[in-house]
Assembly symmetry: C2
Homo-oligomer: 121 residues x 2
């Protein structure tokens, strides 16, 4: 039921970990399943130069976060803010309908981390 | 927020895998998160002599399934049917309230697999 890309990003997630003293940090929880996602950003001149994430969520949460971090790396923060969970699911060649709520965690985690960064500026 | 036992069973889950030609097989899905759990049983004279599970669920689903398989191994099927998700959560020294629904997957998967076995007998 999962695409090859979902399986790849689940089995070999990119950018797992944390960043010490991040320029932006977001922590969000899913109301439907209770899973938690943390996103850490290193930002220089409004460009995201490093990103790491950490979750105990399911395979779909891991895969969407993994590909999201790749999609926002080296992007401007305003471009990164435009990333939608729909675009992320498409980049993964789709997600089962019951798992679309998992992809919201990555989008909201990135938004929260960028808002944190903007608030500090 | 997770107990040491939850972390241990999540990081080193016991009895992950499948069994060829299982005597009992159960596949259940969670209405709240869409995650799926599969349980495979080898049963001789109503005793569960081997059990394996497979899931793409979250850390809590993995931990509860892992400890559940240990709790039903070498037990009679009628004893195994009495395993509740509450007992499993207690054996893990508790689960965050938002994650209790994940522990239902293991209980329901085991029940489905035993029902499959009984139907075949
Ligand atoms: S969130 Fe789906 S099994 Fe835990």
């Amino acid at each position: 039921q999962y695409s090859e890309k979902v399986m790849d990003h689940f089995m070999n997630p990119r950018n797992v970990g944390t960043i010490e003293n991040p320029d932006g940090y977001g922590k969000v929880g899913s109301p439907s399943c209770g899973d938690v996602m943390e996103i850490f950003l290193k930002i220089e001149n409004d460009i995201i130069t490093d990103v790491k994430f950490r979750t105990f969520g399911c395979a779909s949460a891991i895969a969407t976060s993994s590909i999201s971090t790749e999609m926002i790396l080296n992007k401007n923060v305003s471009e990164a803010l435009q990333l939608t969970n729909k675009a992320v699911a498409e980049a993964l060649d789709g997600l089962p309908p019951a798992k679309m709520h998992c992809s919201v965690l990555a989008e909201e985690g990135i938004k929260a981390a960028i808002e944190d960064y903007m608030g500090k500026k």
